[in-house]
Symmetry: D2
Subunit: 349 residues, 4 copies
């Protein structure tokens, strides 16, 4: 079986687990008052070229929902793409942690929030319309949930519309590494320099094991969030084991090497199936995911050929590349798809 | 420095981290649909001699709050000891996850909920008194937050009062292992056989690293809890690394050996300071914690002697023994306390 | 000025205020333990031909949100029309009182939830998909928020789809009276006999003053709801003054006479503007509201002519008829619109 | 029967219902955008000698819970008396509307929060102790729930301790009128001039019918509260009928005349039973309530004599005087108690 189901089906990078082993020495204060977590603050501040506060958390859902809850009142409106993970896949964690905040869907291409569409949506809620709630924040998934990557200009454009109306900006960076690797920009350029106030910094999907992180650029948010995280059961008493994972993740550029590897496999597949008839990429492949429109029969054949992937609908298949997917696995998928498409073409003729 | 600050300042048992390394092979479905998590269900069902559902979670706070929230409506009343961890140390996570449920303090000895006191408290809320809320559950911390251990009879007595009124029973077993080791009973006897519906099964304080667990005996609670945990950001996408930790924790009785070790150190200290004047154990030492009433000056001296511990008040010090505390460390503390008490005695004469 | 802004800009029916005056005799137990509230239970049970529990509440928002919150867990999904009042106009009260429940929009004609569209939406959430939440309830607004009225068959069809999947059915009956008056059916036929479990029974928009009600058909919901209402600050201590209003509202068919009056004014306007060019009813007029697509300039002229109404967009105007709107007022609006359309026609020629 | 059960068992002052009748003219915008509500802002601002924002709400529970929720984060700690209405009688509405905020009980005399006890409680929560939550507000019930009245100095002392730590001050003024009438001070002196940020302004217990109010002195709280109230279902669409009630309530000093009347009846009873053996006032009678410690048999006799009152425990009876209680009713109670105490005395001799 060749597994393209998800980037969370994969292994952790060995460096990350090794770091836990190395952290298992001596005693250390609990709940983040240890040296590993202190160093993590410094390392992330260097990485992001600004004084940041980084909170390790168990999951991306926790990172997203608690970030969003910190950005506004419980009657806030959070604007996001219809395809956004927070909207489709987190059991409305944002609404729960946010005390009843509401997600509002905004149109945009390939899983993006469009700046113009956001402006239009905001124009529809006038100050004083208490029955509508209060626009509070915008959520960007980077890379997007359809495998796209916002350009820096696109992020800035959305953030500008948001800030003009007093909204805060949250980036769901479950695949932040893939996006940075794609654009070749700095982490700072893709986050606070582009207007992002708070970032869900993903590690799990990119070779991590048991933690992601919240990175806070707007320091006024940090103090309350620290309590909220404790209350949310997201502050490990042996925090050093989480901080050590995150340290290893960013050490010596590991995170970007891992992301470049998974991006490359996806790009290899995309290139290999270009021009095939009988299938269609529904979005440009800019990170480590491919969304293919292809007949159900073709999906059946792929499964018989030993490929694992998710069926998003009767005719939409998702293929996700992990850091440890190989060129051979990519080539096998390409070959299978070519054969299927050739067969389909013959059948059609 | 000799560290008696907390059981979460300590190392993880090497077996537990090693299990993570071993789990880092091949691909596996995310969010608990992996083989490790499936086996965990079986192993816990064996351990507890009943079909149980076990949910790994990041922290004891998450285990407690989500367990309690699952036991009743958001207008429920949860009865607990004043000293209960859920009441003093979790930033009201139970109230948050429970949508506004309220903790009600019940008297009892050494951190226990007393069965009679519970009965009396329940008698004060009549059915139909909508302004009072609705009694929903009782919480027992085992071992207690003052270092005591409920006997099986004591648990049964509380559970009986609770059930007679339709309340569910939650056990906060952050130190469940210490209590089982103390009583020499089976896990089943201390939980569902005594009336417990849902258990926070602690590992972190007893040599674990990054996860605890919820063990569900009342299967009607499991389906909703599964969604609530997902929404709460407590379901790791790479769950295998959590499940592997818990497997290693209970394998070959590791958890009970670790707990017996920390209990023994505490007992050694208690025996060594018996009869000293100028200090007083405020509760019998039945698990791995000692609560000592002693003068502030004595605490200063202890710190100068190189001991780390928590000052709970001007005259109350807490000493916690970890699985990897040594007899030498215990003896050093005993010697120091003896010297201090001798000095105090002389000063008084 | 002639006011077509809303049915809540109008007066209360004098009978309803008089009933408060009459209730102002002697002492009575608080919080609904009075004779007026007891009689209200009986009268509503007669009216609905079934043992019902009726809870007076301050507002329709409270009625809707607390009803929905009572129907499922806090991770529930509530299906509704995009145009539904709970979705557009209640500041996400349902999400708040429901502890983070989520509204999901379902397509349908003229503000309805379509049975087929509901079935399709439900097919997209499989049991066990914990990341999606759990389908819990469907909300119907009767009359709809675009002035339509579900036929009994349409209600039954939606309820059937819902019940097949275990969902509960809530009817937002802010204009329940208008719908009953329109269809000429019994209240029972439009509610529990068609599958409705809980009903927001509106009075305010139809000549009431300060209260609406929740009518519970599924008696298993009543006990918890009673506590939740108390906690929500919706249980008046001098409840008799609310119950007396609701009694007067349904006494001798007052509520249906009032609704018939406002429906008739709306129908008169609809008939009077039939065939005019330059405007278009975007939905059939089946209750007391008209939604007119007409040019912004025409709206300006109407305002200069002394008419008050809401601009829903640059080209959409809403006109609402109250029980005390007169035929003369309707005719004046018709005349103005005819003149405007004639002028527009001339301008176009 | 002579009714001393509660001040909510009584009638409304006729002036208040008459005001609703007078408000039933013409059309008016909904949700508080009407002239009555605008005038109410001015009248309350005059009454309180400061620019205030007044929000009519349905109940005192809503006023209290929504006020408290507006004062701090959802992880806030709210300090109050153990006897406080928010702690004993509102089904934890504060915890619910506050998203899981927690009430912390502070000692004090006769239902008061003591300034020293508050200072001590606050000293126990150090900044950075995230596991404890964050001190956010203090709640004072004026008059207290045991029939006492804080002096202005006492209020100021509590507020001073609170403000020194950054806490906001909420006054539950369900019996604010009784307290003002007792002290003969101005409403301003008892509220913002003494440090109160937000006030639950009670009317129902003192001759009102269906509404109380929130009075906001700290204007930074008003905007968010306006949305929260809408979401909470506490904003009537026909708000004029609520605002008219509150206008009538404060017009020409009606509210203070009503309160003086009920206070006087309570004082008359207290004077009439002074020195009797066999009963004991557990708190000085400073408003309109009496709490009597007397034998269960004596309570039985009183009930046989036709008196209605609440048994708070086996030996504690509460008597509440309404604005329309008469001197004759007071004298009848005095006579009965004298007879009972004489009989008890004889029995004892």
């Amino acid at each position: 079986m060749i597994d393209f189901r998800s980037d969370n089906t994969g292994r952790a990078a060995p460096e990350i687990l090794d770091a836990m082993i190395r952290a298992n020495e001596g005693t250390a204060l609990g709940y983040g008052a240890d040296e590993w977590t202190a160093r993590l603050q410094d390392r992330f501040s260097e990485l992001f070229e600004a004084r940041t506060r980084v909170f390790p958390v168990a999951t991306g859902t926790a990172a997203n929902a608690l970030s969003l809850a910190s950005l506004g009142p419980s009657w806030g409106l959070v604007y996001c793409s219809e395809a956004a993970h927070i909207n489709t896949s987190e059991a409305n964690a944002a609404g729960f942690f946010g005390g009843g905040l509401k997600l509002v869907q905004v149109a945009g291409q390939y899983g993006r929030v469009g700046a113009d569409a956001l402006a239009q949506a905001l124009a529809g809620v006038l100050p004083g319309q208490t029955h509508r709630g209060a626009p509070a924040a915008v959520n960007l998934t980077q890379a997007t949930d359809l495998g796209g990557v916002y350009s820096l200009d696109e992020i800035r454009a959305v953030a500008e519309v948001a800030k003009a109306r007093g909204l805060k900006v949250h980036m769901d960076g479950a695949r932040f590494a893939n996006a940075v690797a794609r654009l070749g920009c700095t982490p700072a350029e893709m986050s606070w320099k582009a207007g992002v106030d708070i970032l869900s910094f993903g590690a799990t999907k990119n070779g991590g094991a048991l933690c992601d992180a919240i990175v806070v650029f707007d320091q006024s948010l940090a103090e309350g969030l620290a309590i909220q995280l404790r209350r949310a059961g997201q502050v490990w008493s042996k925090m050093r084991f989480a901080s050590a994972q995150l340290m290893a993740y960013i050490e010596d550029g590991l995170w970007l090497r891992l992301a470049a590897a998974s991006n490359a496999v996806a790009a290899r597949i995309a290139a290999g199936i270009e021009g095939l008839t009988g299938l269609r990429l529904i979005a440009p492949v800019e990170a480590n995911e491919l969304f293919l429109d292809l007949p159900a029969g073709a999906m059946d054949t792929l499964e018989r050929d030993g490929f694992q992937f998710y069926r998003r609908s009767a005719t939409l298949a998702r293929f996700v590349c992990r850091f440890d997917c190989t060129a051979d696995e990519a080539d096998a998928l390409i070959a299978s798809l070519r054969r299927i498409c050739g067969a389909e073409k013959q059948a059609a003729e």
